[in-house]
Amino acid sequence: MEKDLNQIRNIGISAHIDSGKTTLTERILYYTNRIYAIHDVKGKDGVGATMDSMELEKERGITIASAATFCEWRNHQVNIIDTPGHVDFTIEVERSLRVLDGAILVLCSVGGVQSQSITVDLQMKRYKVPCIAFINKCDRSGANPFRVIKQLRDKLNHNAVAMQMPIGLEADLQGVVDIVAMQAIYFDGENGEDLRVDDIPDNMLQEAEGLREALIDAASMYSDDLMEAALEGEVTQELLLQAIRTGTLSRKLTPVFMGSAYKNKGVQPLLDAVNDLLPCPSDVDNQALDMKNNETQITLASDASKSPVALAFKLEDGQYGQLTYIRVYQGTISKGDTIVNARTGKKTKVGRLVRMHADQMEDINSIPAGYIGALFGIDCASGDTFTDRDNRLSMTSMYVPEPVISLAIVPKDNKAQTNMSKALNRFTKEDPTFRTYVNQETGDTIISGMGELHLEVYIERMRREYAADVDTGMPRVAYRETITRKAEFNYTHKKQTGGAGQFGRVAGYIEPADNDEFEFVNSVTGGSIPTQFIASCKKGFKSCLVKGPKMEFPVTGIRIVIDDGASHAVDSSEMAFQAAARGAFREGYAKARPVIHEPIMKVVVESPTEFQGNVMGSLNQRRGIILGSQDEGVMCVIEAQVPLAEMFGYSTVLRSSTQGKAQFTMEFNTYRQVPQSIAEDLVKKAQEGKKNVA
């Protein structure tokens, strides 16, 4: 499998839901001879796309887990990760981008830059992944790739330049004009596999020349040679591509390609662009932290002969045990090597090494730097770094968002109980945004995640893959408590009921803090609380934060300052001060006007204009603040902030009020105070809940 590093591309395909990522991947695999027949997502043949290997993915026509595959195109090896588009599975996208060197941003020629495209773009920025754009679905009615390029500039601030222009549009889409080589490309044959190169149609020549001029203008910013050549009127194709590549790698230029994956148009030139414009592993600077040396940053060299550094970015539990996807950044990992997990220090011998192609695998002997592969039989967590015995390097970890929604699940019978715990164990290991715990009071198992669909998919997988039938409770929103003003406390804990007494006094104040974290400040002077008990005070306060006194939601965003207290030579103990701190917290908290905060989601609905009123009405009924509406011709985009608690079941409501023609995305935006009337309801419900438990 070893090739020159310059001929390796690790790329991802990411985009908004239903932009055609999986369809594009299917075509890429077909043209690179990895598969010999094309199956469409939710296609009539019922087979489903190759990359959507999970039964649930095929049924719903969505990608849930990112799948890895590889192919060869014109002597280059391209490793591809197809990622989910739905925002609930955002961690899959984060994980893939972390280990990729470049990406294809797929956009719909009708929908343009949609809400999830913005999220994906942010993620690419976070991991500094260079990208090229592909405007898909140019065969759909209302297609306008140049409007999308404008949106790329306006909405995403990309320096987007057209590399192609479509020949015909909508149903009349015939091919594309390559602006670099100044030729027309048609896609003949049953599946568009035969490329026919021809002269640019006369009526398009002038426009193509204009676009080429704009392209040269934009690219010459990144190459002095090109600038000179342009002035002398001798621009060669190689020179132009080299300059565009430099701009793309520095993320200052986004070349835009177009076509229709479904209609087999424009995919091969896109693959050429992947080879020509996206980075090879050695083009990218990868950093690791030296754990032995005070976490200093060091740059890794994509050199197969150096000591190995690899990152486990995804885990999967299959029938042969845990499959760990790794990306090797430096050195080589071979069969029989001993590798060390930098986090735990645990040594492991490498057993089986494989290369993945969706759900099928191919055994290999080694994974050199720059490659993506998978290990069998290694116990680790997602995000762990593997090195050899001499080094202790850690790749910086990935950003993991906090879950916003939780749900109680109850197994239907004993068998389901055992299977459920097996399933939960696997899911939590695979997906850091999916968490589970047992509620001490009710004994319910609670699962939490990034959205309704996220949890729904896991429950369905539990049923299908583990035969664990569960009943689900009402989804529970992750409310929080906080205080709104400063309040003082002065609490004495005194107990004299036989045996050793308990005494401790804690005084100070409690106030709102700007960030969400708990802050503890010790301003005690003169030893009124002996130093050895300060930690107990902090512990006592901290124990109160798990469950707020008002509604038993976690308390966040407070600062506690202690400035006075008293102790007793005999009766004061760590326990006494912990109890005093708990009492002090209750005293101060009650006076500090506690309020409940709820998660507010940014909801973006895309709907045909005629249903705009209905959509706005439905959002308004849900305590939503409509921020604005954007008229995009036949479609309109409505943005709103809506409390998560009101969004349950919204997809059904939206479908019925728009004849199924609208779609929406939702992501966490902020926490905001719950209105008084709703807060009262919550308090009432909590009290009833307590009664039932009693």
Partner: protein
Amino acid sequence: MTLTDYASALDRQSAVVQKQSRPACPAEIINLRERNFIMLKKDLILRNPLRLLGQENQDILPEGGIGAVLARAGVGKTALMVQLALDTLLREKNVLHVSLNDPVDKVRLWHKEVFHNLAEQYNLSQINQLWDSILPKRFIMTFKVEGFSVPKLEERLRDLTEQDIFKPQMIIIDGFPFEGSVEEPLQQLKEFSSRHGLRIWFSVRTHRHEDPGPGGIPPQLSNIDGLFNVILQLLPEGKKVHVRVLKGADSTADYPELLLDPATMLISPQSK
């Protein structure tokens, strides 16, 4: 005029506003918890230099009136319009911001930036709470220039008002194409404005190469200036941007001239 004069001018204005806002009913219940917050809002309204353009009543434009902000590209039309919007929002009136150029996100960013600059200038605390309180009173609508028409705007507004989602009291239209024949749509908008008791502000882009007509009115508005109740112009001179009143508003010499600070994009009175 010196700064002291300006201060006393503001005091006079404040007295007028306070007198007007005094409740008719003798006993008003003041929620002590809310008082600070309400006072903060009032303070911000009174200190707004735009007040200097206002008539005896609180708005620069009369009910049913339309106004225009003229300037060359990039001078600060949107910034001034956003300040007009924020001032209205702080007075608890609903504002619809219609943009024919920018996407919703960009308009939102404009509002946020100007608000934060404003809050910073006056060292306001409780910024977030204040921002949250005005957010439900604002609605942003964007159209493509070619897709915008008065009947379409009316239809969209009907969607909102019939379901009691949003009823604007002021509309800002940014990016309305004044090139070509605009008399008919403007006439329609003026009728619409008076029918619903609205106040509508337009931004008008002027061009360097075009000489203004009598009264400083640019050629685009020469035939239709009668429709406008107020016309303001932003005029860059050196590093300063002057706010000139070409028509309407209380532009008597009692008050200092206003400037638009290019750094913060905020309006401030000229100190001599």
